[in-house]
Symmetry: C2
Subunit: 195 residues, 2 copies
Amino acid sequence: MTYGRPREFDIDRALEAATQQFWAVGYEATSLQDLLKSMGLSKSSLYQTFGNKHELFIRCLDHYQQSMVDKLNVQLNSSDSVKQFIGNFLEGVIAEAKNTSGRKGCLLVNTANELSQRDTDIAKAVTDGTGNVAKLFQQAIELGKQKKEISVDTSTEHLVSYLITAISGLRTMIKAGAETSTLKPVTDLIIKTLF
Amino acid sequence: MTYGRPREFDIDRALEAATQQFWAVGYEATSLQDLLKSMGLSKSSLYQTFGNKHELFIRCLDHYQQSMVDKLNVQLNSSDSVKQFIGNFLEGVIAEAKNTSGRKGCLLVNTANELSQRDTDIAKAVTDGTGNVAKLFQQAIELGKQKKEISVDTSTEHLVSYLITAISGLRTMIKAGAETSTLKPVTDLIIKTLF
């Protein structure tokens, strides 16, 4: 067990629990009671530490995107090729369709769909989050061009937008009930477009 | 003014009004009061004619997909080429990003994202609706193969899945705040993949 900074440790765990709660059912459908229960906090601790539900949700979006970017960075650095990195990423996305316990999708994509057009603070958090993920894919595609895996004829910016659009689309298809077997040929076409 | 069948005429108008209401803010965020107001109905008429909110929503999903399929059929039949038809369709999707009054997206895609994994009846209505849209794109792609616009090497089924995935992705990007100028090169890459 680790001692020291117990308060911050608790904050991270509470944020992770709140993120999982929002991710499972969405912002609107998450009640204050759901949050208190999953975070194991009293109402006063939640309000003192995180402000209201809206502010807590924005902290969760940041926590989520930071975890995702950290994980992707590790994967990019340990992949043999950029094609392998992006291929594995897409495989991971469509593997979620096999998850019988639920198809949660990506919290940023879900939030864009649920709330972005109605809430400017949340829209900004989504844009910041997807911007950081885009930056990582940009690094990957530039590396792919350096390694001559990707043609330099198409602008990196356009390829990044294409890749993020494709991922968002795969996630929506999964939520609408598409199976992995339907989506595998789609990921093949996406890879063919990029490489 | 047209007389005769006043009741059915009212039903269609009421369904269209309810569809617009659900489309604007989503299922959860639409209250019974919102529906009564937009449909111009009393609570008892709504319940007698459409059942509850859940049943009404499923009727709206069907109404929405039927209107969309009818419109697309007309467009496909009046286009010079399949490339033009699909190109125009994608232009129409990304033009929504210029709509300053809101980015409503596609009701089927929104519903897939908001509810499909939590409600099997709604999931079925979404699957039926996207299935009918997919059927239309399948006809378009087969026509494209006949006209030698599209290579026969890739299966029509895979190209349809790819196209629907791409459209879903564009819609999510728009809701997340992407501009038309960012998405135009993405549609170019999608067209390049298909043709």
